[in-house]
């Protein structure tokens, strides 16, 4: 009977198992300096070595249906390491399958004969050939930091940390954050703040860290580089795709550094909802900044009032990369919020030639003073007896032209009130017969398709990415032409079209 209960319980206790390897990597800083990092790689199994070391380590998201997390650790470093998750309960640690007390601390005797601990939990020895397994059960939903629990002052500086997110167990979408709060997966943005003190990393690399070395401890450490999600801002990073106007964005802010930071969101305020993975009884509305001490996590909601790239930056000392000698900024990132622009009037398509609205314009106001990072287009309720007759061209304010659809959809099957979404990230071409859905731009006839003025002359680009870097503001024109004068009948774009623009920083 007891055995039955146990096996039933373990079945219910669906668990996520992650194979992490602590290992070294070299990170090139914005000023070209090469820094030794210790990070985690996510392997497919213990010893597989098929993952890539990253700092921060891989984002661990425990699905809503799971209550338990197991991390199997391999240690390719030269010193012992381990993993802890503050504010989550370590249920057990297994050394090659044999349970050991999770509260085991590695100890040493110092020069004054004192017994001192170097770890918060059971150590994984360097070069372990058998797995050491750390298990957390009854995980509490929220935003957490996992990090090394051994020689932690140094090992967290070296890069042994990452974000752990536990989704709310209830709900069916799997996107529950806290009780009463569901945020779409694409709107959940982890932001890990960290620092690098390059002198410490150099000393470790040279074997000069520790007693007798050039740097004996972390006591006088001061950081040189300030990073969000492992990167100093250099101007080269794309904005973080956070969602679209109308979305509620969740910022999961995690401080993996040894100093306090104060993320400030530009242009708008947030509602701070949780700290250390625990929701506040009273949410803190109207906050443009969040106080984030070392190892703290905070969650904030942000409902953008306008599409655009919102800066998020550190208001403490972190807005720098190694002083003036480095490139622009340290802890700076942009949250891209896309926005839809819609025109609803119908356009009639004649038996031959240009449609009644030619070009069919959407004007993006000048307040959208940014360049485009991604374009998506929707044509609403298109009807045509012979879709292959249609050539549809989109032209941006700077004259870039992309063929959305030409000679696609076949000649035999009429389209009736079909809504077509054009998106580069979709790998499927516009189908025959024409169907409602998302497709990549499709130009079937390789021969020239001509559009009468005012449409620009060809050639035309084949992917929407050609618009990247175009200004958002200005007139976007849709040109629809029926290029087959011999029959086929008339058609109609019944409900207009929509332009979805996502900003670049």
């Amino acid at each position: 009977m007891g055995g039955f209960c146990l096996s039933l319980a373990s079945k219910l206790e669906a668990q996520l198992t992650v194979y992490l390897r602590a290992d070294t990597a070299i990170q090139t800083m914005p000023d070209g300096r090469q820094v030794l990092m210790w990070g985690y790689a996510k392997d497919s199994s213990f010893g597989a070595h098929d993952g890539t070391v990253s700092v921060p380590g891989p984002l661990i998201t425990v699905p809503h249906t799971f209550t338990k997390l197991t991390i199997v650790l391999e240690n390719n470093l030269a010193e012992a390491t381990s993993i802890v998750i503050p504010n989550q309960h370590t249920a057990s640690v297994l050394d090659n399958g044999t349970p050991v007390p999770p509260t085991t601390h590695t100890r040493f005797t110092d020069s004054q004969n004192r017994s001192r601990a170097t770890s918060f939990t059971f150590d994984t020895p360097p070069g372990n050939t058998t797995p050491v397994t750390y298990v957390w059960d009854n995980l509490t939903p929220g935003t957490y930091l996992y990090h090394s629990g051994s020689h932690a002052a140094l090992q967290t500086q070296m890069g042994l940390y990452g974000a752990m997110i536990k989704r709310l167990p209830s709900g069916t979408t799997g996107n529950g954050v806290y009780p009463g709060l569901v945020v779409k997966a694409g709107n959940q943005v982890p932001l890990v703040f960290s620092e690098i003190d390059a002198e410490v990393h150099d000393a470790v690399q040279a074997g000069q860290y520790g007693p007798g070395g050039t740097i004996t401890s972390m006591q006088h450490s001061t950081p040189d580089y300030f990073l969000i999600n492992g990167q100093c801002y250099t101007g080269a990073q794309p904005a973080i795709q956070a969602g679209a106007l109308g979305d509620t964005i969740l910022l999961r802010m995690i401080n993996a550094s040894a100093n306090q930071h104060v993320p400030v969101l530009g242009q708008q305020s947030m509602t701070v909802i949780a700290e250390d993975g625990r929701p506040y009884a009273d949410r803190r509305t109207g906050q443009y900044s969040v106080f984030l001490p070392a190892m703290k996590t905070c969650d904030a909601l942000f409902v953008p009032l306008l599409g655009g790239a919102y800066p998020i930056y550190d208001r403490a000392t972190g807005f720098t990369s190694h002083g003036t000698t480095g490139p622009v900024g340290g802890m700076l990132a942009y949250l891209a919020i896309g926005q839809n622009f819609t025109a609803t009037a119908p356009a009639n398509i004649p038996e031959s030639g240009q449609a009644s609205r030619y070009g069919y314009n959407i004007t993006v106001p000048a307040t959208f003073d940014w360049k485009v990072a991604k374009v998506r287009v929707i044509l609403y309720k298109l009807s045509h007896p012979r879709p292959a007759d249609l050539d549809i061209l989109l032209v941006s304010p700077d004259g870039t032209a992309v063929m959305l659809m030409s000679d696609a959809g076949g000649t035999a099957q009429p389209a009736n009130l079909v809504s077509l979404t054009f998106d580069d990230s979709v790998s499927v071409s516009v189908p025959t017969p024409l169907g409602t859905g998302a497709w990549k731009p499709t130009d079937i006839n390789t021969g020239p398709d001509t559009f009468p003025a005012p449409a620009p002359a060809g050639p035309y680009a084949a992917t929407l990415s050609a618009f990247n870097g175009s200004p958002a503001a200005g007139t976007w024109s849709l040109y629809i032409v029926d290029d087959d004068p011999t029959g086929g009948g008339t058609g109609r774009l019944n409900a207009g079209w929509q332009l979805f623009l996502t900003p670049a920083p």
Partner: protein
């Protein structure tokens, strides 16, 4: 015997009825070049209003200048000037009304770096200038940019350069923005937010910053490439752009030409003081206001409220206000001397209670003959405004030594009682002619109470409790 009133009462009355003494002592302080704000500040009971410039259009110039520190040093700094006025630290406090459309026109007279302005918590439309990381920037050598926003919500905000803020904030390009609440477009007087929970008698600004001397020296010497803000190590700490004890000098003190804003806080017992605290630097500072707890009612210009109409019901009481970089905090402070266990006005026991009848034998019972301290006997001396009744008439628990046994601090009025002054030896005292209680408000990080290693100084100012003036 009861006709012999205690000395303190007599002296206190003297001061109140002969304001000339105030003027004389204030004049003395001025003569000595030691102007403090108190004597020349507004009349004792007027509402204190934070000085600044009024919108909705502002013309700010970023310029370089020098500020002075009480240890005799001066530091090269970058600041904002009000139009053609002198550069100042912090920049002019911008005061606007909720609902106004604000325009800030910036000219950058610096030669070293572009300058811009960000207004955390506001949705700003920048124009002109050149694109920058956080907003549009005015190029060095006279470049311009403009910033427009609607001051949609009231409260305490800040502004600072958004161009290399790690360096610009360190160099001094910061200032306060105060948005006054309005109803129907009309400002609500003496209230920080729309709700009456934020009503106050006086408002004071505490804009907290710090500076690393070595960075300022490198910038002044044109050695910009050697500046490394990641390694900054502040040695000066400021309230409203001044290091203590300069913080208590009057607004616009002539010997602080680029540091116009005082931080001396003056109020009377029971007055509600709104503390607008701004963490304008890059470090956290725990602002400790002695004397009483304060109720934090807003953070980042957002009232601590559970619902939009609940008032500051989530406010909480602290004795140290944590001021974090970029964050603003509003707190309400007041002081009455409650529960000190002695009568701060020096009403003497044998003077105020007349056992066993409760009023002077043979005299008519007056309107003030009330048993304030509930000890069964009536008091003949009325309560001072906001006096803590339970301590009325309780004796001062210290026997005062004679003058020859005392060392006099400059703020000692000669009397331990509020509003009282006593005789002082020639040359002693003189900084506290109205017999106020003066005591320190300061960073609770005691390391910040120095001016480049010289104690005392740094992030400290004084609070001055003044007795209520007599009824007219």
């Amino acid at each position: 015997m009861r006709n012999l009133k205690p000395t303190v009462i007599i002296e206190r009355t003297t001061v109140k009825t002969t304001p000339r003494i105030n003027q004389v002592l204030a004049g003395l302080a001025l003569t000595l070049g030691l102007a403090i704000a108190g004597p020349q500040a507004q009349a004792a009971h007027a509402h204190h209003v934070i000085p600044g410039i009024v919108g909705p259009t502002f013309n700010l110039r970023a310029k370089a200048g020098h500020l002075s520190t009480p240890d005799g040093h001066n530091l090269y700094f970058w600041g904002f000037a009000n139009g053609a006025g002198p550069v100042q630290y912090p920049g002019p406090t911008l005061i606007v009304n909720q609902g106004q459309t604000i325009t800030v026109n910036l000219v950058n007279d610096l030669t070293e770096l572009p300058v811009s302005i960000v207004f955390p918590g506001q949705r700003v439309t920048p124009s002109g200038g050149s694109p920058g990381l956080l907003t549009r920037e005015a190029v060095p050598g006279g470049g311009t940019a403009s910033y427009t926003f609607i001051a949609s919500r009231p409260g305490t905000f800040m502004y600072h350069s958004g161009t290399r803020p790690d360096l610009a904030v360190e160099m001094g390009l910061v200032g306060a923005l105060i948005v006054r609440p309005t109803t129907g477009g009309v400002p609500i007087a003496n209230q920080a937010y729309a709700h009456p929970d934020s009503a106050y008698d006086h408002e004071y600004l505490y804009l907290l910053t710090e500076m690393d001397e070595s960075i300022h020296t490198l910038v002044e010497q044109g050695r910009m490439s050697e500046v490394n803000t990641a390694k900054r190590f502040p040695v000066y700490w400021f309230i409203n752009g001044r290091c203590g004890p300069d913080t208590v000098a009057a607004d616009n003190a002539v010997y602080l030409p680029t540091q116009p804003y005082s931080a001396l806080t003056i109020f009377s017992p029971g007055d509600k003081v709104l503390m607008r605290v701004i963490g304008a630097g890059q470090d956290s500072h725990p602002l400790h206001h002695h004397g009483n707890n304060a109720l934090i009612i807003a953070r980042n210009a957002s009232l601590l409220q559970s619902t939009t109409a609940s008032g500051a019901d989530l406010g909480y009481s602290v004795f140290t206000i944590p001021a974090h970089p970029g964050e603003t905090t509003d707190a309400l402070f007041s002081w009455t001397g409650e529960k000190l266990g002695w009568d701060v006005y020096g009403h003497a026991p044998d003077d105020v209670d007349n056992a066993p009848l409760g009023w002077s034998t043979g005299g008519a019972k007056g309107a003030e003959d009330i048993d304030h301290d509930n000890d069964g006997v009536y008091d003949t001396i009325p309560l001072e405004p906001h006096e803590y009744a339970a301590d009325h008439g309780k004796p001062f628990p210290v026997k005062l030594p004679g003058d020859q046994d005392l060392t006099f601090g400059m703020f000692y009025s000669g009397s331990p009682f509020l509003g009282g002054v006593g005789s002082l030896p020639p040359g002693e005292g003189g900084f506290n002619p109205s017999g106020g209680f003066m005591y320190m408000w300061h960073s609770h990080n005691e390391r910040e109470l120095i001016n480049n290693n010289i104690f005392p100084g740094g992030m400290l100012t004084m609070a001055l409790v003044e007795a209520h003036p007599p009824a007219p």
